[in-house]
Protein backbone atom coordinates (compact mmCIF):
# COMPACT_ATOMS: atom_id res chain seq x y z
CA UNK A 1 0.00 0.00 0.00
CA UNK A 2 1.47 3.35 -1.08
CA UNK A 3 0.10 6.43 0.60
CA UNK A 4 1.75 9.87 0.54
CA UNK A 5 0.12 10.95 3.78
CA UNK A 6 1.19 7.94 5.81
CA UNK A 7 3.10 9.01 8.91
CA UNK A 8 6.37 7.12 8.96
CA UNK A 9 5.67 5.79 12.42
CA UNK A 10 3.35 3.17 10.93
CA UNK A 11 6.24 1.77 8.86
CA UNK A 12 8.32 0.92 11.90
CA UNK A 13 6.35 -2.03 13.24
CA UNK A 14 7.89 -4.61 15.49
CA UNK A 15 8.54 -7.21 12.77
CA UNK A 16 10.32 -4.61 10.60
CA UNK A 17 12.56 -3.56 13.50
CA UNK A 18 13.16 -7.22 14.30
CA UNK A 19 14.27 -7.98 10.74
CA UNK A 20 16.43 -4.81 10.82
CA UNK A 21 18.27 -5.66 14.01
CA UNK A 22 18.32 -9.43 13.38
CA UNK A 23 18.34 -9.79 9.60
CA UNK A 24 17.77 -13.31 8.25
CA UNK A 25 20.16 -14.70 5.63
CA UNK A 26 22.66 -11.95 6.31
CA UNK A 27 26.18 -12.63 5.05
CA UNK A 28 27.82 -14.25 2.08
CA UNK A 29 27.06 -17.87 1.21
CA UNK A 30 29.27 -20.73 0.02
CA UNK A 31 29.32 -21.75 -3.66
CA UNK A 32 26.94 -19.08 -4.86
CA UNK A 33 25.65 -19.60 -8.40
CA UNK A 34 25.04 -15.91 -8.94
CA UNK A 35 25.51 -12.59 -7.17
CA UNK A 36 24.31 -9.10 -7.92
CA UNK A 37 24.64 -5.65 -6.30
CA UNK A 38 22.46 -2.57 -6.58
CA UNK A 39 22.44 0.92 -5.17
CA UNK A 40 19.62 3.03 -3.80
CA UNK A 41 19.86 6.39 -5.58
CA UNK A 42 18.23 8.12 -2.60
CA UNK A 43 20.97 7.38 -0.10
CA UNK A 44 23.66 5.42 -1.93
CA UNK A 45 23.07 2.32 0.18
CA UNK A 46 24.15 -0.86 -1.55
CA UNK A 47 22.70 -4.35 -1.31
CA UNK A 48 24.36 -7.49 -2.64
CA UNK A 49 22.36 -10.70 -3.01
CA UNK A 50 23.91 -14.14 -3.58
CA UNK A 51 21.93 -17.15 -4.73
CA UNK A 52 22.79 -20.83 -4.80
CA UNK A 53 20.62 -22.50 -7.40
CA UNK A 54 20.28 -26.25 -7.90
CA UNK A 55 18.02 -27.74 -10.56
CA UNK A 56 16.21 -24.44 -10.98
CA UNK A 57 15.55 -24.08 -7.27
CA UNK A 58 17.02 -21.55 -4.84
CA UNK A 59 18.61 -23.73 -2.17
CA UNK A 60 20.52 -20.98 -0.41
CA UNK A 61 20.48 -17.18 -0.34
CA UNK A 62 22.47 -14.49 1.41
CA UNK A 63 22.62 -10.71 1.35
CA UNK A 64 25.01 -8.05 2.58
CA UNK A 65 24.66 -4.26 2.87
CA UNK A 66 21.46 -2.23 2.97
CA UNK A 67 21.53 0.67 5.38
CA UNK A 68 18.12 1.81 6.55
CA UNK A 69 15.61 -0.25 8.47
CA UNK A 70 13.21 -0.43 5.53
CA UNK A 71 15.78 -1.68 2.99
CA UNK A 72 17.40 -4.13 5.37
CA UNK A 73 14.12 -5.55 6.67
CA UNK A 74 12.91 -5.84 3.10
CA UNK A 75 16.05 -7.76 2.05
CA UNK A 76 15.65 -10.01 5.07
CA UNK A 77 11.97 -10.72 4.34
CA UNK A 78 12.52 -11.23 0.60
CA UNK A 79 15.42 -13.64 1.04
CA UNK A 80 13.37 -15.52 3.62
CA UNK A 81 10.45 -15.65 1.20
CA UNK A 82 12.37 -17.03 -1.79
CA UNK A 83 14.43 -19.72 -0.11
CA UNK A 84 13.32 -23.10 -1.47
CA UNK A 85 11.32 -21.57 -4.32
CA UNK A 86 12.03 -22.27 -7.99
CA UNK A 87 13.40 -19.52 -10.22
CA UNK A 88 10.19 -19.63 -12.23
CA UNK A 89 8.16 -18.98 -9.08
CA UNK A 90 10.41 -16.08 -8.08
CA UNK A 91 10.24 -14.60 -11.56
CA UNK A 92 6.48 -14.35 -11.22
CA UNK A 93 6.82 -12.17 -8.13
CA UNK A 94 5.70 -8.57 -8.55
CA UNK A 95 6.49 -5.53 -6.46
CA UNK A 96 3.02 -5.79 -4.91
CA UNK A 97 4.01 -9.22 -3.58
CA UNK A 98 7.09 -7.69 -1.95
CA UNK A 99 5.05 -4.93 -0.35
CA UNK A 100 2.67 -7.63 0.92
CA UNK A 101 5.62 -9.43 2.52
CA UNK A 102 6.52 -6.20 4.34
CA UNK A 103 2.99 -5.83 5.75
CA UNK A 104 3.43 -2.09 6.27
CA UNK A 105 2.21 1.03 4.48
CA UNK A 106 5.09 2.56 2.52
CA UNK A 107 5.36 6.27 1.84
CA UNK A 108 6.36 7.03 -1.78
CA UNK A 109 9.74 8.49 -0.81
CA UNK A 110 10.70 5.21 0.88
CA UNK A 111 9.46 2.93 -1.91
CA UNK A 112 12.96 2.75 -3.40
CA UNK A 113 14.28 1.52 -0.02
CA UNK A 114 11.56 -1.13 0.18
CA UNK A 115 12.11 -2.40 -3.37
CA UNK A 116 15.91 -2.17 -3.63
CA UNK A 117 16.61 -5.80 -2.80
CA UNK A 118 13.76 -6.97 -5.04
CA UNK A 119 15.36 -5.15 -7.96
CA UNK A 120 18.73 -6.66 -7.10
CA UNK A 121 17.12 -10.12 -6.91
CA UNK A 122 15.55 -9.70 -10.36
CA UNK A 123 18.91 -8.67 -11.79
CA UNK A 124 20.67 -11.56 -10.06
CA UNK A 125 18.29 -14.04 -11.69
CA UNK A 126 18.60 -12.40 -15.10
CA UNK A 127 22.39 -12.57 -14.79
CA UNK A 128 22.18 -16.24 -13.76
CA UNK A 129 19.95 -17.18 -16.69
CA UNK A 130 22.16 -15.33 -19.15
CA UNK A 131 25.23 -17.14 -17.87
CA UNK A 132 23.42 -20.49 -17.90
CA UNK A 133 22.16 -20.02 -21.47
CA UNK A 134 25.56 -18.91 -22.74
CA UNK A 135 27.19 -22.01 -21.30
CA UNK A 136 24.40 -24.24 -22.58
Amino acid sequence: MIDPDIPAESMYREHILDHYTHPRNYGEIKNASTAFSGRNPLCGDEVKIELKIEKGRIVDVGFVGGGCAISKASASLITEGIKGKTIEEVKKMKKEDVLKLLEIPISPVRLKCALLSFKVLENAITAYEKKRDEHG
Partner: protein, 408 residues
Amino acid sequence: MKALVEISDFPILGRKIHGKRLVYLDNAATTQLPVQVISAIDTFYKKHNASINRGIYLLSQEATESYVQAKEKVAAFFHAIEHDVVFTKNATEALNIVSHACEGRLKKGDEILVSSVEHHANFVPWQVLAKKRSAKLVILPLSAENKIDHSLLKKFLSKKTRIVALSHMSNVLGIENPLADTIRLVKETDPSILTVIDACQSAAHIPIDVQGLGADFLALSSHKMLAPSGIGVLFGRKDIVVDFEPLLYGGDMIDKVTDAETTFAESPRRFEAGTQNPAGAHAFAEALSYLDKVGMDNVHAHCEQLGTLAYDLLVKIPGIEVYSPRIGNNGILSFNMRGVHPHDVASLLDSDGVAIRAGHHCAMPLMSRLGISFSCRASFYIYNTSDDAKALYTALMKVRDIFKKGDS
Protein backbone atom coordinates in the same frame (compact mmCIF):
# COMPACT_ATOMS: atom_id res chain seq x y z
CA MET B 1 13.92 31.82 22.87
CA LYS B 2 11.29 33.43 20.70
CA ALA B 3 11.49 33.77 16.94
CA LEU B 4 13.42 36.76 15.68
CA VAL B 5 10.54 37.70 13.40
CA GLU B 6 6.73 37.48 13.40
CA ILE B 7 5.98 33.83 12.74
CA SER B 8 2.74 34.95 11.10
CA ASP B 9 4.91 36.49 8.36
CA PHE B 10 5.61 32.91 7.24
CA PRO B 11 2.27 31.32 6.26
CA ILE B 12 3.79 27.89 5.55
CA LEU B 13 4.72 27.55 9.22
CA GLY B 14 1.00 27.38 9.99
CA ARG B 15 0.72 24.14 8.01
CA LYS B 16 -0.01 20.87 9.71
CA ILE B 17 2.15 17.88 8.80
CA HIS B 18 0.49 14.52 9.57
CA GLY B 19 -1.72 16.50 11.94
CA LYS B 20 1.24 18.03 13.80
CA ARG B 21 2.68 21.55 13.85
CA LEU B 22 5.35 21.96 11.15
CA VAL B 23 8.80 22.33 12.72
CA TYR B 24 10.89 23.30 9.72
CA LEU B 25 14.59 22.56 10.32
CA ASP B 26 15.97 22.22 6.80
CA ASN B 27 16.95 25.86 6.40
CA ALA B 28 20.49 25.10 5.27
CA ALA B 29 18.85 23.57 2.18
CA THR B 30 16.20 26.22 1.58
CA THR B 31 14.39 28.81 3.67
CA GLN B 32 10.70 29.72 3.73
CA LEU B 33 9.24 32.90 2.27
CA PRO B 34 7.64 35.71 4.26
CA VAL B 35 4.33 37.16 2.99
CA GLN B 36 6.18 40.33 2.01
CA VAL B 37 8.22 38.35 -0.52
CA ILE B 38 5.28 36.26 -1.68
CA SER B 39 3.22 39.41 -2.34
CA ALA B 40 6.14 40.97 -4.21
CA ILE B 41 6.03 38.00 -6.60
CA ASP B 42 2.23 38.26 -6.77
CA THR B 43 2.35 41.99 -7.56
CA PHE B 44 5.04 41.51 -10.19
CA TYR B 45 2.99 38.95 -12.08
CA LYS B 46 -0.29 40.84 -11.64
CA LYS B 47 1.09 44.22 -12.71
CA HIS B 48 4.54 44.23 -14.30
CA ASN B 49 5.23 40.89 -15.97
CA ALA B 50 7.13 41.09 -19.26
CA SER B 51 10.38 39.97 -20.81
CA ILE B 52 13.15 42.34 -19.77
CA ASN B 53 15.71 44.32 -21.80
CA ARG B 54 13.93 44.04 -25.13
CA GLY B 55 10.43 45.47 -25.04
CA ILE B 56 9.73 49.11 -25.86
CA TYR B 57 6.31 49.04 -24.20
CA LEU B 58 5.64 50.19 -20.64
CA LEU B 59 5.34 46.73 -19.03
CA SER B 60 8.74 45.65 -20.31
CA GLN B 61 10.23 48.94 -19.16
CA GLU B 62 8.80 48.39 -15.70
CA ALA B 63 10.03 44.79 -15.54
CA THR B 64 13.48 45.89 -16.72
CA GLU B 65 13.56 48.73 -14.20
CA SER B 66 12.64 46.36 -11.39
CA TYR B 67 15.40 43.95 -12.49
CA VAL B 68 17.97 46.77 -12.54
CA GLN B 69 16.82 47.96 -9.11
CA ALA B 70 17.11 44.41 -7.75
CA LYS B 71 20.73 44.32 -8.93
CA GLU B 72 21.42 47.64 -7.26
CA LYS B 73 19.86 46.32 -4.06
CA VAL B 74 22.02 43.17 -4.22
CA ALA B 75 25.17 45.21 -4.86
CA ALA B 76 24.40 47.48 -1.90
CA PHE B 77 23.37 44.68 0.48
CA PHE B 78 26.55 42.69 -0.13
CA HIS B 79 28.77 45.73 -0.55
CA ALA B 80 29.93 45.02 -4.10
CA ILE B 81 31.93 47.89 -5.59
CA GLU B 82 34.55 46.51 -7.96
CA HIS B 83 32.37 43.50 -8.81
CA ASP B 84 29.66 43.06 -11.41
CA VAL B 85 26.44 41.43 -10.23
CA VAL B 86 25.40 38.55 -12.49
CA PHE B 87 22.01 36.96 -11.88
CA THR B 88 22.06 33.20 -12.39
CA LYS B 89 19.57 30.48 -11.62
CA ASN B 90 21.53 29.43 -8.52
CA ALA B 91 24.99 29.41 -6.97
CA THR B 92 25.86 26.21 -8.82
CA GLU B 93 25.43 27.99 -12.15
CA ALA B 94 27.44 30.94 -10.80
CA LEU B 95 30.37 28.67 -9.89
CA ASN B 96 30.12 26.87 -13.23
CA ILE B 97 30.35 30.20 -15.07
CA VAL B 98 33.71 30.76 -13.38
CA SER B 99 35.05 27.23 -13.82
CA HIS B 100 33.98 27.22 -17.48
CA ALA B 101 35.68 30.56 -18.18
CA CYS B 102 38.87 29.33 -16.52
CA GLU B 103 39.21 26.53 -19.06
CA GLY B 104 41.22 28.64 -21.49
CA ARG B 105 43.43 29.97 -18.69
CA LEU B 106 44.74 26.64 -17.44
CA LYS B 107 47.55 24.57 -18.83
CA LYS B 108 48.82 21.11 -18.09
CA GLY B 109 50.19 20.76 -14.58
CA ASP B 110 48.48 23.88 -13.21
CA GLU B 111 46.86 23.47 -9.82
CA ILE B 112 43.37 24.25 -8.52
CA LEU B 113 43.04 24.32 -4.76
CA VAL B 114 39.82 23.52 -2.90
CA SER B 115 39.27 22.34 0.67
CA SER B 116 37.76 19.09 1.88
CA VAL B 117 34.78 20.93 3.40
CA GLU B 118 33.37 21.96 0.01
CA HIS B 119 29.81 21.42 -1.17
CA HIS B 120 29.80 19.48 -4.46
CA ALA B 121 28.89 22.75 -6.25
CA ASN B 122 32.34 24.12 -5.38
CA PHE B 123 34.12 20.81 -5.87
CA VAL B 124 32.82 18.93 -8.91
CA PRO B 125 33.20 21.83 -11.41
CA TRP B 126 36.88 22.17 -10.40
CA GLN B 127 37.48 18.44 -10.49
CA VAL B 128 36.00 18.24 -14.00
CA LEU B 129 37.98 21.30 -15.11
CA ALA B 130 41.22 19.80 -13.77
CA LYS B 131 40.57 16.58 -15.70
CA LYS B 132 39.79 18.47 -18.93
CA ARG B 133 42.98 20.52 -18.76
CA SER B 134 45.25 17.84 -17.25
CA ALA B 135 45.57 20.15 -14.28
CA LYS B 136 45.77 18.96 -10.70
CA LEU B 137 43.01 19.30 -8.12
CA VAL B 138 44.71 19.93 -4.80
CA ILE B 139 42.52 19.27 -1.77
CA LEU B 140 43.44 21.29 1.28
CA PRO B 141 42.99 19.25 4.47
CA LEU B 142 41.19 20.92 7.37
CA SER B 143 42.49 21.58 10.86
CA ALA B 144 41.44 19.36 13.78
CA GLU B 145 38.54 21.82 14.29
CA ASN B 146 37.46 21.28 10.67
CA LYS B 147 38.55 24.78 9.68
CA ILE B 148 40.79 26.20 7.00
CA ASP B 149 44.26 26.42 8.48
CA HIS B 150 46.63 29.08 7.13
CA SER B 151 49.84 27.22 7.92
CA LEU B 152 48.50 24.23 5.98
CA LEU B 153 47.34 26.51 3.19
CA LYS B 154 50.84 27.99 2.84
CA LYS B 155 52.20 24.48 2.38
CA PHE B 156 49.61 23.61 -0.23
CA LEU B 157 49.96 26.77 -2.32
CA SER B 158 52.56 26.38 -5.03
CA LYS B 159 53.93 28.26 -7.99
CA LYS B 160 51.48 26.26 -10.08
CA THR B 161 48.37 27.27 -8.13
CA ARG B 162 46.08 29.16 -10.52
CA ILE B 163 42.73 29.00 -8.71
CA VAL B 164 41.74 28.85 -5.03
CA ALA B 165 38.03 28.06 -4.41
CA LEU B 166 36.82 27.89 -0.82
CA SER B 167 33.64 27.57 1.17
CA HIS B 168 32.84 30.47 3.50
CA MET B 169 30.64 28.39 5.78
CA SER B 170 30.16 24.63 5.86
CA ASN B 171 26.67 23.48 4.90
CA VAL B 172 27.23 20.37 7.03
CA LEU B 173 28.96 21.67 10.16
CA GLY B 174 27.99 25.36 10.14
CA ILE B 175 31.59 26.38 10.76
CA GLU B 176 32.58 29.73 9.30
CA ASN B 177 35.96 30.32 7.72
CA PRO B 178 36.77 34.04 8.00
CA LEU B 179 38.15 34.17 4.47
CA ALA B 180 39.30 37.80 4.23
CA ASP B 181 42.70 36.90 5.71
CA THR B 182 42.83 33.70 3.66
CA ILE B 183 42.26 35.59 0.41
CA ARG B 184 44.92 38.14 1.43
CA LEU B 185 47.38 35.32 2.06
CA VAL B 186 46.67 33.81 -1.36
CA LYS B 187 46.99 37.16 -3.13
CA GLU B 188 50.25 37.92 -1.31
CA THR B 189 51.62 34.60 -2.55
CA ASP B 190 50.64 35.43 -6.13
CA PRO B 191 48.17 38.18 -7.09
CA SER B 192 47.30 36.37 -10.33
CA ILE B 193 45.75 33.38 -8.54
CA LEU B 194 41.99 33.56 -9.08
CA THR B 195 40.07 33.39 -5.80
CA VAL B 196 36.52 32.09 -5.52
CA ILE B 197 34.23 32.05 -2.48
CA ASP B 198 31.18 29.84 -2.12
CA ALA B 199 29.06 32.01 0.19
CA CYS B 200 25.79 30.05 0.00
CA GLN B 201 25.55 29.35 3.73
CA SER B 202 27.41 32.40 5.00
CA ALA B 203 25.23 34.86 3.06
CA ALA B 204 22.21 33.63 5.00
CA HIS B 205 23.94 33.96 8.38
CA ILE B 206 26.45 36.80 8.50
CA PRO B 207 26.88 40.21 6.87
CA ILE B 208 28.81 39.69 3.62
CA ASP B 209 31.20 42.34 2.40
CA VAL B 210 32.22 41.35 -1.13
CA GLN B 211 34.68 44.24 -1.37
CA GLY B 212 36.17 43.55 2.05
CA LEU B 213 36.55 39.81 1.48
CA GLY B 214 38.66 40.65 -1.55
CA ALA B 215 37.95 37.52 -3.59
CA ASP B 216 37.69 37.74 -7.37
CA PHE B 217 34.44 35.78 -7.37
CA LEU B 218 31.71 35.09 -4.87
CA ALA B 219 28.63 32.95 -5.43
CA LEU B 220 25.37 32.65 -3.50
CA SER B 221 21.75 31.52 -3.85
CA SER B 222 18.71 33.57 -2.90
CA HIS B 223 16.55 30.64 -1.78
CA LYS B 224 18.59 30.29 1.42
CA MET B 225 17.71 33.91 2.25
CA LEU B 226 13.89 33.98 2.28
CA ALA B 227 13.57 34.33 -1.51
CA PRO B 228 12.19 31.86 -4.05
CA SER B 229 14.42 29.35 -5.82
CA GLY B 230 15.63 30.24 -9.28
CA ILE B 231 17.83 33.23 -8.50
CA GLY B 232 21.50 33.04 -7.68
CA VAL B 233 24.25 35.63 -7.85
CA LEU B 234 27.76 35.68 -9.15
CA PHE B 235 29.87 38.62 -8.06
CA GLY B 236 32.73 38.85 -10.54
CA ARG B 237 35.54 41.38 -10.39
CA LYS B 238 34.93 43.76 -13.27
CA ASP B 239 38.48 43.75 -14.64
CA ILE B 240 38.50 39.94 -14.79
CA VAL B 241 35.05 39.18 -16.18
CA VAL B 242 35.48 41.74 -18.94
CA ASP B 243 36.80 39.11 -21.35
CA PHE B 244 35.46 36.00 -19.63
CA GLU B 245 34.04 33.33 -21.92
CA PRO B 246 30.29 32.91 -21.22
CA LEU B 247 28.84 29.58 -20.11
CA LEU B 248 25.58 29.92 -22.01
CA TYR B 249 25.14 31.31 -25.51
CA GLY B 250 21.95 32.63 -27.07
CA GLY B 251 19.57 35.53 -26.90
CA ASP B 252 20.25 38.76 -25.04
CA MET B 253 23.91 38.06 -24.31
CA ILE B 254 25.17 39.19 -27.71
CA ASP B 255 26.57 42.37 -29.17
CA LYS B 256 26.27 41.45 -32.85
CA VAL B 257 25.49 38.25 -34.70
CA THR B 258 26.33 37.55 -38.35
CA ASP B 259 26.30 34.33 -40.35
CA ALA B 260 30.00 33.99 -39.69
CA GLU B 261 30.42 35.01 -36.07
CA THR B 262 29.07 36.55 -32.88
CA THR B 263 30.45 39.16 -30.55
CA PHE B 264 29.20 39.16 -26.97
CA ALA B 265 27.66 41.89 -24.85
CA GLU B 266 29.60 43.35 -21.97
CA SER B 267 29.48 41.81 -18.51
CA PRO B 268 27.20 41.19 -16.68
CA ARG B 269 24.84 40.79 -19.64
CA ARG B 270 27.16 38.40 -21.49
CA PHE B 271 26.56 35.88 -18.68
CA GLU B 272 22.77 36.25 -18.66
CA ALA B 273 21.69 34.40 -21.79
CA GLY B 274 18.04 33.88 -22.62
CA THR B 275 14.92 35.12 -20.85
CA GLN B 276 15.77 36.05 -17.29
CA ASN B 277 13.80 35.74 -14.06
CA PRO B 278 12.74 39.30 -13.19
CA ALA B 279 10.06 38.17 -10.71
CA GLY B 280 12.69 36.18 -8.83
CA ALA B 281 15.12 39.11 -8.87
CA HIS B 282 12.40 41.43 -7.58
CA ALA B 283 11.49 38.90 -4.85
CA PHE B 284 15.13 38.57 -3.84
CA ALA B 285 15.41 42.36 -3.44
CA GLU B 286 12.30 42.25 -1.24
CA ALA B 287 13.81 39.42 0.83
CA LEU B 288 16.97 41.49 1.29
CA SER B 289 14.87 44.44 2.49
CA TYR B 290 13.21 42.10 4.99
CA LEU B 291 16.64 40.92 6.20
CA ASP B 292 17.80 44.55 6.34
CA LYS B 293 15.03 45.26 8.83
CA VAL B 294 15.91 42.19 10.91
CA GLY B 295 19.64 42.94 10.70
CA MET B 296 22.18 40.31 9.67
CA ASP B 297 24.01 40.61 13.00
CA ASN B 298 20.77 39.66 14.74
CA VAL B 299 20.25 36.79 12.30
CA HIS B 300 23.70 35.51 13.15
CA ALA B 301 23.22 35.83 16.92
CA HIS B 302 19.77 34.17 16.84
CA CYS B 303 20.87 31.13 14.80
CA GLU B 304 24.04 30.76 16.81
CA GLN B 305 22.16 30.82 20.14
CA LEU B 306 19.58 28.32 18.89
CA GLY B 307 22.38 26.14 17.55
CA THR B 308 24.09 25.97 20.92
CA LEU B 309 20.79 25.39 22.71
CA ALA B 310 19.92 22.54 20.32
CA TYR B 311 23.43 21.11 20.66
CA ASP B 312 23.03 20.92 24.44
CA LEU B 313 19.72 19.09 24.03
CA LEU B 314 21.03 16.64 21.41
CA VAL B 315 24.03 15.53 23.45
CA LYS B 316 21.64 14.55 26.27
CA ILE B 317 20.22 11.80 24.06
CA PRO B 318 22.13 8.53 24.51
CA GLY B 319 23.79 7.31 21.33
CA ILE B 320 23.78 10.69 19.58
CA GLU B 321 27.01 11.95 18.08
CA VAL B 322 27.07 15.60 16.98
CA TYR B 323 29.67 16.57 14.37
CA SER B 324 29.05 20.33 14.48
CA PRO B 325 30.80 22.30 17.22
CA ARG B 326 28.85 23.54 20.26
CA ILE B 327 29.89 27.14 19.62
CA GLY B 328 30.17 28.51 16.11
CA ASN B 329 27.74 26.12 14.41
CA ASN B 330 25.49 28.91 13.10
CA GLY B 331 22.42 26.82 13.87
CA ILE B 332 23.53 23.99 11.55
CA LEU B 333 23.79 20.68 13.39
CA SER B 334 24.92 17.44 11.82
CA PHE B 335 24.53 14.32 13.91
CA ASN B 336 23.90 10.59 13.89
CA MET B 337 22.02 8.28 16.20
CA ARG B 338 23.92 5.07 16.81
CA GLY B 339 22.36 2.06 15.09
CA VAL B 340 19.73 4.08 13.24
CA HIS B 341 20.07 5.09 9.61
CA PRO B 342 19.54 8.86 9.03
CA HIS B 343 16.70 8.14 6.62
CA ASP B 344 14.85 6.24 9.32
CA VAL B 345 15.45 9.13 11.72
CA ALA B 346 14.20 11.67 9.16
CA SER B 347 11.14 9.53 8.29
CA LEU B 348 10.15 9.17 11.93
CA LEU B 349 10.76 12.85 12.67
CA ASP B 350 8.51 13.70 9.73
CA SER B 351 5.65 11.86 11.38
CA ASP B 352 6.03 14.35 14.24
CA GLY B 353 6.06 17.29 11.83
CA VAL B 354 9.81 17.84 12.24
CA ALA B 355 11.52 18.36 8.85
CA ILE B 356 15.25 17.65 8.81
CA ARG B 357 17.71 16.60 6.12
CA ALA B 358 19.32 13.17 5.96
CA GLY B 359 22.07 12.09 3.62
CA HIS B 360 25.50 13.25 2.50
CA HIS B 361 24.38 16.89 2.07
CA CYS B 362 26.24 17.16 -1.26
CA ALA B 363 29.53 17.03 0.63
CA MET B 364 30.76 13.47 0.16
CA PRO B 365 34.48 14.36 0.52
CA LEU B 366 33.74 15.93 3.93
CA MET B 367 31.62 12.94 4.95
CA SER B 368 34.48 10.58 4.23
CA ARG B 369 36.80 12.86 6.21
CA LEU B 370 34.41 12.60 9.15
CA GLY B 371 34.45 8.82 8.70
CA ILE B 372 30.73 8.58 7.92
CA SER B 373 28.61 8.07 4.82
CA PHE B 374 25.72 10.27 5.85
CA SER B 375 24.23 12.17 8.72
CA CYS B 376 21.08 13.85 9.93
CA ARG B 377 21.14 17.63 9.73
CA ALA B 378 18.89 20.06 11.58
CA SER B 379 19.33 23.70 10.59
CA PHE B 380 17.66 26.69 12.20
CA TYR B 381 16.70 30.11 10.91
CA ILE B 382 15.15 33.35 12.09
CA TYR B 383 11.62 31.97 12.51
CA ASN B 384 12.74 29.03 14.65
CA THR B 385 12.39 29.05 18.42
CA SER B 386 13.66 27.09 21.40
CA ASP B 387 10.32 25.21 21.22
CA ASP B 388 11.45 23.94 17.80
CA ALA B 389 14.72 22.71 19.32
CA LYS B 390 12.71 20.98 22.05
CA ALA B 391 10.38 19.42 19.47
CA LEU B 392 13.48 18.03 17.72
CA TYR B 393 14.73 16.62 21.01
CA THR B 394 11.38 15.01 21.90
CA ALA B 395 10.99 13.49 18.43
CA LEU B 396 14.54 12.08 18.56
CA MET B 397 13.87 10.52 21.97
CA LYS B 398 10.86 8.81 20.40
CA VAL B 399 13.02 7.46 17.54
CA ARG B 400 15.42 6.09 20.11
CA ASP B 401 12.60 4.37 21.99
CA ILE B 402 11.20 2.81 18.82
CA PHE B 403 14.58 1.37 17.83
CA LYS B 404 15.30 0.23 21.37
CA LYS B 405 12.19 -1.97 21.07
CA GLY B 406 13.65 -3.61 17.96
CA ASP B 407 16.92 -4.19 19.78
CA SER B 408 15.44 -6.25 22.59
